[in-house]
């Protein structure tokens, strides 16, 4: 299908009501905790109160003595011999010899009511021998730090590195020292960011059932039902195809629901309780203590800049802890941190370090916000020192199509320059600021991702269409996929129903992650619709007695392609569909692939703040997000992604952080003290959708979900310096830290 076929759109780019809107404003939509089953039990999880402890014994006898308690599981109920990431997942699901962080699951119990299960969990006696722990990444990387797991380092780690370093990487090109020598100004700074949580409002919830025959079912809130299937069956030693996983509506994920936590426990409890379904719903405190925060980071950056704004060389060394397991996104942070800039001399070094914290999960552009905080902060400080306009500096160094990325490969079509130009043109930049007010700017980047994708489309008897996708709808992807499908088929938006289906209904799909749902499922749906169109053209051709190639599809109908094909009135999709039983049977299309043609997305944010010099409080006065969407299929939900990403970044910048006490226990596992932005913290968030179409997608889509969380961290730090002249190098920039910086400056 030629791209140019779609220059004029009927539906793409419009803002219809989302298909699941009615269910979601009436309370009918069913989320993870909203389903119950006949004979259902409730599960509860016993969690370690220690950051690091040997599990001496687990005595469930008092719990099992209660009437209505049906099963208790421990690690002994799980198979041995797993390796690699399967072992990590199993160990994180339920602790083996040692509890590795505060909140690590140690046992689980199923009972006939929620209250009874909670009471039984309190009665399971666990004896611990407390071991030394380590929390901070700079402490964890010391040679004499408590060892989280000997032998966890992979082949990338050279001999002689500290014991908690489990992955090491360095890469780059050119000669950074020569580059620094060419610069008019070379600066080197260190930065830190604390761990934050995705903070989805819906706690993890699942309803699992598993029989002694190894066949099971699960209802669960997840970004990816196939990931749940693959991971649960790996952890439990089952055949993947025997577990059927149905995704509920999902109350936010942001990457945090791309993995498993208590799901295998519900299956193990169910099997032990004779196959009765077991529902487990996490409390908020369990969510914060035991599910995917992001990594915390300690970063050194050195940059050389000429007076004309040219970056001559750049070097980044990042250390990140992602909990007690390998997987901190230090690689992604390094790849993204210099990505907006066309560099000749660049070097990156990264360490993935273990600490006694929960296993980090993906969080919106994993790694990119931390790296951007360091690099974009330093660039701003240097522009200030050389009196260079920070936007001009970025334009001067901005990457464009064909440039080599900082991490190696060349960029395809990208829209950074267009994004920076749109930023420059925005009226917010000419608003005058008052005392103690400041403006900050920063750029951000995310690759975007494709992933295994399987979509099936079927034409119904009345000429409407249903599309089955495997990517749960978190932020309006049903609407965008329906728009693209309807546009392709030439039918109405309301004539398409997009269903997010269970694992039994399609081939394997990766989750809704990597900003891929509208790109990948959308592209597959368009290709599937093309197959259905081809078939419908064939049916019309047969009816008319002409060659299929002589039929074209226009406005939802088959018609002869030119005068030589004969005079036949167009045959509409409804007419073709109505007769499909007599013309060869059902009409459908499907597509399976890892779709190529991912388009990266750059963004640029501008924030105006006011800082109270007496209390250190930062108020966001104005916020602007400019980002390349390729093409916005449903602009309202593109704006929603921009605004939501900015809000999460603002929270990360100002007030969100994992706070541990001296025993390594999470001190703030409630929304009262894990401070995500509330409605009164934020202004309206202005958006500009830049559209540099992605040639790798039939409608030009780039993923838009993730980039937006990246620039706020440095943009706000830059605005604070502009307002009150202090440079904040450690997130969060809470009132106490800003006030302390103001006092220290005197």
């Amino acid at each position: 299908m030629a791209k140019d076929e779609f220059r004029e759109f009927k539906l793409v780019g419009t803002r219809p009501d989302r298909p699941d809107g009615l269910d979601k404003v009436t309370g009918r939509a069913r989320y993870g905790a909203d389903i119950s089953a006949p004979g259902m039990l409730w599960g509860a999880v016993v969690r370690s109160p220690h950051a690091h402890a040997r599990i001496v014994s687990i005595d469930p006898s008092k719990a099992l003595a209660l009437d209505g308690v049906k099963a208790v599981v421990t690690r002994a109920d799980f198979p041995e011999g797993l390796t690699g990431e399967d072992w990590n997942l199993q160990e994180n699901t339920i602790a083996g010899e040692r509890a590795l962080y505060d909140g690590h699951a140690v046992a689980a119990v199923a009972a006939t009511s929620k209250l009874l299960a909670e009471e039984a969990a309190r009665l399971i006696a666990v004896e611990y021998e407390v071991l030394p722990h380590v929390i901070d990444v700079d402490d964890a990387i010391k040679p004499d730090a408590p060892v989280i797991r000997a032998g966890a380092a992979d082949a990338s780690v050279p001999e002689g590195m500290p014991p908690n370093v489990v992955r090491y990487m360095d890469f780059g090109r050119g000669d950074v020292e020569a580059g620094f020598a060419e610069a008019d100004l070379v600066m080197e700074r260190s930065y830190k960011t604390e761990a934050t949580h995705q903070g989805y409002i819906e706690p993890h919830a699942c309803l699992g059932q598993l029989g002694a025959d190894g066949k099971g079912e699960m209802w669960v809130c997840t970004q990816g039902q196939w990931y749940i299937r693959k991971m649960c069956t790996a952890v439990l030693g089952l055949d993947a195809s025997q577990l059927r996983v149905t995704p509920s509506e999902i109350g936010g994920g942001f990457g945090g629901k791309t993995t498993i936590f208590m799901e295998p426990l519900s299956l193990a409890l169910s099997r032990k309780a004779g196959g009765k379904p077991v529902k487990i719903v996490m409390s908020r405190s369990e969510v914060l203590r035991a599910t995917g925060p992001t990594a915390s980071a300690s970063m050194d950056v050195k940059i050389g800049l000429k007076k004309d704004g040219t970056i001559t060389a750049a070097r980044a060394e990042f250390r990140m802890q992602g909990g007690a397991f390998p997987g901190a996104p230090v690689d992604m942070a390094l790849y993204c941190c210099f990505a907006p800039y066309n560099l000749t001399n660049v070097a990156h070094v990264g360490y993935d370090v273990l600490a006694n914290r929960p296993k980090c999960a993906a969080y919106r552009a994993p790694g990119s916000p931390m790296g951007a905080f360091a690099v974009e902060s330093l660039l701003d400080e240097m522009c200030r020192a050389l009196k260079i306009d920070p936007l001009q500096m970025r334009l001067k160094n901005a990457v464009k199509e064909g440039d080599k990325s900082s991490y190696g490969p060349r960029f395809g079509s990208i829209g950074l320059i267009e994004t920076l130009e749109a930023t420059q043109a925005h009226p917010n930049l000419s608003i005058k600021l008052g005392p103690n007010q400041g403006r900050g700017i920063a750029a951000g980047y995310w690759f975007n991702h494709n992933g295994e994708t399987s979509v099936s489309l079927a034409i119904s008897e009345d000429g409407t269409a249903q599309v089955s996708v495997g990517t749960p709808d978190i932020g309006g992807s049903r609407a965008s996929i329906a728009l693209m499908t309807a546009e392709t088929l030439g039918i109405g938006y309301e004539d398409v129903r997009v269903n997010v289906v269970e694992t039994g209904a399609l081939g394997v799909n990766e989750p809704t992650h990597g900003s891929r749902a509208t790109f990948a499922s959308g592209k597959a749906a368009v290709i599937a619709a093309g197959h259905a169109i081809k078939e419908m053209c064939r049916r019309a051709a047969t009816e008319w007695g002409i060659e299929p190639e002589a039929v074209e599809w226009v406005n939802g109908a088959a018609q002869p392609a030119g005068p030589n094909a004969g005079k036949h009135p167009p045959m509409t999709i409804a007419e073709i569909a109505g007769k499909m039983g007599q013309t060869g049977g059902p009409i459908s299309g499907h597509h399976e692939s890892v779709p190529e043609g991912v388009g990266a997305s750059f963004g640029c944010h501008v924030v105006d703040v006011e800082v109270d010099p007496e209390t250190g409080r930062t108020t966001i006065l104005r916020y602007l997000v400019v980002q390349d969407a390729g093409r916005a299929i449903h602009p309202a939900y593109v704006e929603g992604q921009y605004q939501g990403g900015a809000a999460q970044g603002i929270g990360w910048a100002l007030n969100e952080a994992y706070i541990y006490d001296d025993k390594g226990r999470l001190a703030n596992p409630v929304f009262l003290d894990y401070r995500i932005p509330v409605a009164s913290d934020l202004p309206m968030i202005d958006t500009v959708i830049v559209e540099v179409p992605n040639p790798g997608h039939p409608y030009g889509v780039r993923g838009v979900g993730e980039t937006g969380i990246t620039p706020p961290l440095p943009a706000i730090a830059n605005a604070i310096e502009d307002a009150v002249g202090v440079r904040m190098a450690h997130l969060p920039m809470s009132p106490a830290t800003v006030l302390a910086a103001l006092k220290a400056r005197g």
């Binding site: 690699g84 992979d154 082949a155 990338s156 050279p158 090491y168 990487m169 360095d170 890469f171 780059g172 995705q198 942001f254 990457g255 945090g256 791309t258 690689d331 992604m332 790849y335 993906a362 969080y363 919106r364 552009a365 994993p366 990325s405 991490y407 190696g408 490969p409 060349r410 960029f411 395809g412 995310w446 690759f447 975007n448 991702h449 494709n450 992933g451 990766e510 992650h513 990597g514 900003s515 891929r516 890892v594 190529e596 043609g597 991912v598 790798g696 993923g703 979900g705 993730e706």
Partner: protein, 80 residues
Amino acid sequence: MVAVHLWSSLTRFTDGARVVEVEAATVAEALKQLVETHPGLGPILDGGISVVIDGEMVPNRHTAIEPGAEVYLMQRLKGG
């Protein structure tokens, strides 16, 4: 010949070479040859990597590599 660009810390396994030339028509062949000539890369490649050809992330190991193409190995990418 196809030039495969490695990240620097892999040079421990390639006698210091950041770019390794291989005779390969597909991604799978390129990876196989890399491990044959530099066995130390085996565990890294098995651990999961992303292959980028001329700026395009190529998940399919059967993808053909045109002569003269620029091939990069990167840590495995996904998202949140």
